[in-house]
Structure formats: C-alpha cells, structure tokens
C-alpha cells in the first residue's frame, strides 16, 4: 500500500517543496503583479536614495538635527550631530545614507500596511483571530528565510531587501495598533456614539488620538526591526551598511566590521529617540506648554 510504503520511507512530508512550488506558481501566474510591485518599490527607493545622497552631508546633518530638536530638544539635536559626524569620519556616510533610505522606505510601506490592518483587527474579532497567527509566523520565522522567496520573486537588489524587511518588521506595528485601539477607554468611545458621532469620526477623533502613544511605540518597533533587517538584506544585494559588514565577515576584517557596525548603532539610536520623542508628545504636550508659559513669564521679569 502507498501509505505503508510512505511510512516505511520515513513519513517525509515535502513541505518545503510545496512552498517552493507555491512560490513558482506565484511567479508564473502573478509575475506581472510582482513586476509591478518591484517597479513601484524601486521608484520609491530611488527617490529616497536621491533625497539622502544628493545633498551635501552637512545639509542632511542640519535637517536631521532640526528634526531631533523638534522631537525632543537640543540635547538630542547635539547627539544627532555628533553621531552623524562620527559616521562621516569613519567613511561610512554613503552606506549609512543608503541604509537610511532603505529603512525609511520599508518603514513607510510597513506602517501603511500595519496601521490599517491593526485598526481592522481592533474592530473585528474574526480579523484579529486570523491576523494573529500570521503575525506570529512573520515575527518568528528567522529573518534570513525571507530572503530566499524574495530573490525568487524580485531577483537581487534593493527590492527583495525592502520586501523582506517589511515582512519582518510589520508585525509589531499591527499588534500595537490593535492593542492601542482596544485599550481606549470604552466609555469615551461610548460618549462618541451617544452624541451621534459616525464610526469614522470616532476613529479619527477619539480612537486614533488616544491610541497614538501605543501606535507610535509600534512604529518605533517597526523602525528598529527594519534597520536590523536592512543590514541582513544586504546579503541579497541591498545596498547600505550591510555590505561592508558582510564583506568584513567574509574577510575577517575587524576594523571595517566595527566601523560599519557602530554606524548602524548611531542611526538606530537617532531614529529611536526621534520617534520616541514624537510618540511621547501627546501626553507631555500640556506640560511643555506649561514650561513654555513659565519661561515666558521669567523672560518678562
């Protein structure tokens, strides 16, 4: 009997082969779609790359320092300047900007997916139940594994890097958005209903603003994961700081490895503090206003 024979042979389920066949199927029948996605991603990535590499380095530093100042204050601005100057002086500027471009593109797309899905999951138990195992899968599957189908579908270059990064980074964005919206005081939402607000208005004026700290924490996580993944993505040809790191790994080049590595750390810290600053603003706005008021009073004296 076939079944007995199969068990005697070791009861092997060719799960991997099925997945490969599925991906081949995707490639054969939905090739056009993937080509289109590749086209769009390439265009966005090229734009972002141009934005970060075209202007002279000091312009980027000034702009980022300004954003850091707006997000959190002058301390972060100074730290940003010092960190970026460090990257410049270890000759990783070009790579760092390419990584930044790749990260930002990935984050934008991942957030654009994560927040709507998170909102949807918060509103519907069914969606939430379906989405949760998918997120578990995406989050725990070793990051390298995404690279293989990505190459298959998008060939080498920045696009498979972006796609793999999005897959890896999208989960916390969805989770924290859902959590944030579910965590909004039900009585406040009820108040919206009681005064005759439409569901859309309740979402915009009550749920999203109140869930914002949680959503921003999610975005922050997406950024951090994207950054770490964008380094790994260099293994499939994505440009950026990952390249010198992979290169250093192959040639046991400690100096190069450390210089590229520390550049990643600097970018990670800058992005983390800036998004953290914007995320925490909702709650501290009032305090900062008070501080501003006091300082004006002091100035008047």
């Amino acid at each position: 009997m076939d079944l007995m024979q199969w068990i005697e042979d070791g009861a092997r389920i060719p799960l991997g082969t099925w997945v490969k066949e599925f991906i081949s199927f995707l490639q054969d029948y939905l090739g056009g779609l993937f080509d289109f996605i590749a086209l769009v991603f390439t265009a966005i990535y090229d734009g972002a790359t141009w934005l970060f590499t075209e202007p002279p380095g000091w312009v980027i530093i000034v702009v980022l320092a300004l954003i850091a100042f707006l997000a959190k204050g002058w301390k972060l601005a100074v730290g940003t300047v010092l960190g970026l100057v460090l990257i410049m002086t270890v000759a990783q500027w070009e790579n760092a900007m390419l990584t930044l471009a790749l990260t930002i593109v990935s984050v934008l797309i991942a957030t654009a997916i994560a927040i709507p899905v998170g909102i949807w999951a918060a509103r519907s138990r069914t969606v939430s139940n379906v989405v949760r195992p998918v997120l578990d899968f995406l989050q725990t599957m070793p990051a390298f594994v995404y690279l293989l189908p990505a190459i298959f579908l998008f060939s080498v270059g920045p696009v498979p890097g972006i796609v793999a990064t999005i897959m890896f980074a999208v989960a916390p964005g969805v989770r924290l958005t859902e959590l944030g919206i579910r965590g909004v005081d039900p009585e406040v939402v009820e108040a919206g209903h009681a005064f005759g607000a439409t569901p859309g208005r309740i979402l915009r004026q009550i749920q999203l603003p109140l869930a914002m700290p949680s959503i921003m924490a999610g975005v922050n996580q997406v950024i951090m994961l994207s950054l770490s993944m964008s380094v790994i993505a260099s293994m499939v040809g994505a440009p950026g700081l990952g390249r010198p790191i992979v290169q250093a790994l192959q040639s046991v080049n400690i100096p190069l490895g450390f210089e590229a590595g520390i550049s990643v750390v600097v970018i990670a810290m800058i992005l983390d503090r800036i998004t953290g600053g914007f995320g925490g603003r909702g709650r501290t706005r009032k305090d900062s206003k008070k501080v501003a008021k006091t300082s004006v009073d002091v100035g008047a004296d």
Partner: protein, 435 residues
C-alpha cells in the same frame, strides 16, 4: 398638560447564548434564575414613561440592570425585546443613520467616569456635541462658553481634563451634554464617582440648572438619598425588574414590597417628606362665626387645649382654652378678640427637615396653609415624630394636651349655661354679673 418625552415599553435585555428564547420563557412566567441556561437577563419587562421637564430617577443596586436600561434608551444597546420611543421616534427600529440623528437632536448623555476627551480642552470638550452636529466653530465655542459659565468653569475653559478635579470634570461632562441642546439628558451614575460633599453640591446645581433650562433628565443611581433628592419620580429596580415606580413620597410612605421597604429604611426622611405628606385633616378648627361658645365646645369635644380659628377656610389664628376662659369670664362673645394670630405656619411643600425646628417651638400643632392662607392641614408633633420614625402611616392623631383636662371640665357648667340661653343675653349676663 404633561407631554411624554420618552417611553419604554416592555423592554427586555438578555445577554448570552439564546436571548430570544430566554425572553419567551420570561414572558411565560419563568424567573430570572430559571432562564439562566439560556442567558443572563439584565432587564426584564421594564415599562415606563418620562414626562417632559421632569427628573426621572432609575434606582437600583449594582447588577439590577439600571445601566443596561439607560443604554437601551439611546440605542447604545439594542433591546432583546420591547421598544423605546423618544419624542415619538422609535429608537429600537431606527437605522444607524436615524439613530445618530436621534442622538444628535434629542438625547445626550453624562457618564459615570466622565468620558471626556483627554486630548481636548474643556471648551472643546463642551463643544464636542455641537461639532458632531455640524455647528460652525465660532458658534459652537460661543454656546459652549455660555454653558461652561453656567456650571462655573469659565476660568478653566482652556485647561485639559487631567488638570481638573473629579467634580470639575463632571461639570464638563454635564456642560457637554447641556451644550448639545437636546431635550433629554441621560445621566448614568453621574455623581457616583464624586466625594459626598461635591456630590451634594452637584445635585443642587443640577436641580438649579434643570429648573432654569427645563430639560428632561433620566438619572441612574444606586444612592437612594440621591434618588429622593433629585427625583420627581423614581423607578426602583431589583434583579432586572422595576419593582416600584412612583414619587419619592409614595415610595417612602407606601413601599410596594419588603425589598423597597427595607431599602427606604435608611433614607433621611426629613429631606424627602413634605408637610403635605404627613399632615392630618384639620379637625381642630372653629369658625370665627361660631363665637367663643363654639370654640369652647370644640375644645371640650376634642379634649384639647387649643383650636385653630378659621374664617372662610382661611386661617385666622389660634384660640386657646385660657383665652376662652378669660373671654367667658369677661363676657366676650367675639372670638376675634382672643385669637392669637401669631401662629406658626408651614407651606404644604416644605420639607420636614425645615419643619422640625418650628414644631419644637410651638405648643400647638403646626398649621399647613396654602399660598392663599387656607388651612389645608395640621401637623401635630406626634404625627411629625411618627413620620420621622417611620411608624406605620395609619397611626391615629392624638389630642394634644397642653393643660389638664380639668381646666376645661371646670368650665363645662358655664358653657352649658351659655348653651341653654341665647348667645347675646348670656354674654350680657356674664358681663353684668362680673360688675
């Protein structure tokens, strides 16, 4: 003429697996515990009407279904059975768009935990309902500012909710509901989260605002004193059913069952009961036209020491036995001369809490007079005590005895003599005899 603002007809709400079946079984007479396998019955066959301009209180302990009821009134929860109409519009069968329209135009709500938008200032919170109604920014801020002034928060208009105390936050919640301009206000345990002192203050303010603005208020509470203070009518709930629906006095003086009776035991009765509720019919009266003789007869028959003198049902004053005796001795016949017009009176709607002190000061029963000074009842001290002590309202009045009965008995022969002869000659005789 009273106009109906809101009507609830046979409302049922069952949470659980098989709500419809549970309702059928409840209608067939099964109890709440019987249908537990089909679902939890939160509200069972609740019907009531709320008149325009009144404060209708739904009172019950936690788990009695009161919060579920109020949420069915504006459609936040859909009833399992029965229906709600607000100003003639059916809430239960309304489409989502119609329901939003009803909420915008007819019924707003105040929440137990305030439910303010924490990211908006006080004035923006207060204007929120108008914003939803699509009122322009300048106009809605102006209207919100006016209401914020009424609740006494003008100088906090630009503060955020977390800068305010609980009482102030609930004023914002109240302002938001009032600004909406709807006729009906639902208040869900609105003051329960506040300190007792603040709560009392808010209750008084609510009554004032209600008198000024004339809204219809449906107020949920678990505090009977609060219910008694605010309510024009009170529905008492227990285990999902309305067990009694009546005025505070009816509930206090005529509880529908042991549960309500037990409940009202701890109520501060003096703040609820009015003079009208406890007063006795005015037996101890003598018409001015009956003269001294008539007054003396009443004193004797009632074995009492004082009677009220009335003229065309209007209270003139008190006639005491001493006065009568003096008049008889002096040969006077006109009661007017011995009437003590300095008598303490109370209005029929005065609360007992305001009456007690006066009752202590006066030796005679308190006279209850209406605005035209007509004597409509009396409150002997014993009646007042019975009311305060929650003795059965059937307690009969007891004659108030200030001086020994002998005093009256002693003069009985005199009176009898007076009764035998025509009124005026007797008076003259007595007069002459004295000289």
């Amino acid at each position: 003429m009273t106009e109906t603002a809101l009507e609830a007809r046979h409302l049922f709400k069952v949470f659980g697996r098989n709500p419809k079946q549970a309702v059928q079984r409840l209608k067939a007479g099964e109890s709440r515990t019987d249908v537990h396998d089909a679902g939890t019955a939160a509200v069972i066959d609740a019907s009531f009407t709320v008149n325009k301009g009144e404060i209708f209180v739904i009172m019950g302990l936690s788990g009695s279904g009161k919060s579920t009821i109020i949420r069915m009134l504006n459609g936040l929860l859909a009833p399992t059975d029965g229906e709600v109409t607000i100003q003639g519009r059916n809430v239960t069968t309304a489409s989502p768009a119609d329901l939003r329209d009803i909420r915008r135009s007819s019924v707003s709500m105040v929440f137990q935990h305030f439910a303010l938008l924490p990211h908006r200032t006080v004035i923006d919170n207060a204007a929120y309902a108008l914003e939803i109604q699509g009122v322009g920014k300048a106009e809605r801020l102006e209207r919100a500012r006016e209401i914020i002034g009424k609740v006494g928060l003008t100088e906090w208009a630009d503060a955020f909710p977390d800068e305010l105390s609980g009482g102030m936050r609930q004023r914002v919640g109240l302002a938001r509901a009032l600004t909406a301009g709807t006729d009906i206000l639902l208040m869900d345990e609105a003051f329960s989260a506040l300190d007792p002192l603040i709560r009392r203050e808010m209750q008084e303010q609510l009554v004032e605002l209600q008198q000024e603005l004339g809204r219809t208020i449906i107020f949920i509470t678990h505090d009977l004193n609060e219910a008694m203070f605010l309510g024009d009518r009170i529905a008492v709930m227990r285990d999902g059913r309305i067990v009694q629906n009546g005025t505070p006095e009816e509930i206090l003086t005529d509880p529908a069952n042991d549960y309500v009776a037990q409940f009202v035991q701890d109520v501060d009765r003096t703040r609820v009961l009015t003079a009208r509720a406890v007063m006795e019919p005015p037996h101890l009266t003598t018409p001015i036209s009956a003269g001294v003789r008539g007054a003396l007869r009443v004193l004797r028959e009632q074995q009492t020491s004082a009677v009220f003198a009335v003229e065309n049902n209007r209270l003139v004053g008190v006639v005491t036995d001493r006065g009568v005796i003096r008049a008889v001795k002096a040969g006077q016949t006109d009661v007017r001369q011995i009437v003590d017009s300095n008598v303490l009176t109370v209005g029929p709607d005065d609360l007992l809490t305001d009456i007690v002190e006066r009752a202590v000061e006066t030796p005679v029963p308190l006279a209850v007079v209406d605005e035209r000074n007509r004597l409509i009842g009396v409150i002997p001290r014993v009646t007042l005590l019975a009311a305060l002590g929650n003795v059965a309202p059937t307690t009969r009045e007891m004659p108030i005895i200030q001086t020994p009965i002998e005093m009256v008995a002693q003069f009985t022969p005199l009176v009898d003599a007076a009764a035998e002869a025509p009124a005026t000659p007797v008076a003259t005789d007595v007069e002459g005899g004295d000289r």
